[in-house]
């Protein structure tokens, strides 16, 4: 399996959230600001990559009957490491994600990739699978955050970007106020609430289904056209 194909799978054709439809709890729960989205996405990316490598390295030693228990223990170990690191170095992120960082243990993406990919594949492809699947997850989180934040409270990049004295300031401690696109009272606050999470994810999934269907139809039409061409040619030759 080559890298380009793996990248395409992680981002589009086999995207963990939009196509495999796993890991949706966190996708809907924490996507209220860009800071949360990127923080959560990168945490999952790091944990997923570490777990993929570890499980792939151990794949011949893990007995088949108790593999799920072993996966869970490996995942819980890495999640604890990331959780403690975040508490120490980015306490603001740890506070705003709260219980959802330890809950990465039961995030279906990680156990799903271990089950579907790493227990059969060597370390190299598993490593890149972790990076690309994690990237696909992060992209969906960021998209959700951008939509919910912009329409919900009229800002862009809360926690990361802000404009101070006409200059763009980037910070990574979650203190930035965000760039205001339109006044707050015009925002649909409902999008920041749980309802908005369900609705935004539903719209993204519907958009994805629409795009996949259109591309399938296009392919079918092209195939039909090619077939007609062949028949015509055959008729001409006769």
């Amino acid at each position: 399996m080559n890298l380009k194909q793996q990248f395409k799978e992680g981002l589009i054709t086999n995207n963990p959230v939009l196509v495999q439809r796993i890991g949706m709890c966190s996708t809907m729960a924490i996507t209220t600001s860009l800071f949360n989205g990127i923080g959560m996405g990168l945490s999952v990316l790091i944990i997923l990559t570490c777990c993929n490598v570890a499980i792939s390295a151990l794949r011949k030693a893990i007995p088949n009957d108790i593999r799920l228990a072993i996966f869970v223990v490996v995942i819980a170990g890495f999640v604890t490491i990331v959780d403690l690191l975040l508490q120490a170095f980015i306490p603001a992120l740890s506070a705003s994600l709260g219980v959802f960082i330890p809950l990465i243990v039961v995030n279906c993406i990680i156990i799903g990739r271990a089950e579907a990919f790493c227990q059969h594949e060597p370390i190299g492809p598993s490593f890149f699978d972790g990076i690309f699947q994690g990237f696909g997850y992060t992209v969906v989180l960021v998209l959700m955050c951008l939509i919910r934040e912009l329409l919900g409270s009229g800002t862009f990049g809360t926690g990361i970007f802000e404009i101070v004295d006409g200059a763009l300031r980037v910070s990574f401690d979650g203190s930035a106020a965000g760039i205001r696109i339109f006044p707050e009272q015009f925002g649909a606050t409902i999008l920041i609430m749980p309802f908005g999470g369900f609705l935004t994810l539903a719209s993204l999934l519907a958009a994805m289904q629409y795009a996949l269907r259109k591309s399938a139809e296009k392919k079918e039409a092209a195939e039909r056209a090619a077939k007609v061409e062949v028949v015509k040619e055959a008729a001409n030759n006769a």
Partner: protein, 193 residues
């Protein structure tokens, strides 16, 4: 005591419903809600496991804290839950085979249900004592059951609904869940005591 139990119960079932306001347990919620019977079975199983794991994990957490191993809690909790689910499965298979067959594959899946680990972590975060933990676990599970049964019965009628083709399947289910969440937001202003 009674008052705090009442506050926790109403909070877990209506105001801070695990699914509609905390997004815990969405995977089984969306996955096993196509039929009302399976939804009820799933709800009972989850309630049972959540109550039991709240009780056991409270003791485990006390033990870890007294040994100054608090940082190992996530790992310990998930192991306890995995073992517990396995144990419940074996117990039901032996003594109540009818319930065991009714629950089928949903039982082992509860291990990776984030509502179960979530309730245990929230118990620790909220500093609940033993009784409060168990009450929160059981009522949280009941809240899950209310949500999944309501959702399954709405979903039953979706096949007669007319919606855009692209929303077929999962997206329309999410919109439905969103509308239910909107309804449950009505409880958020409720004050107890």
């Amino acid at each position: 005591m009674l008052e705090s139990v009442l506050t926790i119960s109403l909070g877990a079932i209506l105001i801070n419903n695990f699914i509609f306001s905390q997004f815990l347990g969405c995977c089984p919620f969306l996955g096993c809600s196509t039929k009302i019977d399976t939804a009820v079975g799933m709800g009972i199983a989850v309630t049972f496991v959540m109550g039991l794991s709240s009780a056991i994990c409270y003791v485990v957490n006390e033990l870890l804290v007294s040994l100054e191993l608090g940082y190992m809690s996530t790992l310990a909790f998930i192991l306890v839950i995995a073992v517990l689910v396995q144990f419940v499965e074996m117990f039901l298979k032996k003594s109540i085979p009818s319930l065991y067959t009714a629950l089928g594959i949903y039982l082992p899946l509860i291990t990776t249900n984030c509502a179960v680990l979530g309730v245990v972590l929230l118990n620790v975060q909220n500093n609940y004592n033993f009784i409060e933990s168990v009450v929160y676990g059981v009522t949280g599970g009941l809240g899950f059951m209310v949500a999944i049964v309501l959702f399954a019965s709405v979903r039953d009628r979706l096949q007669f609904a007319d919606y855009p083709e692209s929303f077929e399947g999962f997206p329309i289910a999410l919109v439905t869940a969103g509308l239910l969440a909107l309804a449950f937001m009505g409880f958020s202003g409720m004050q107890i005591g």
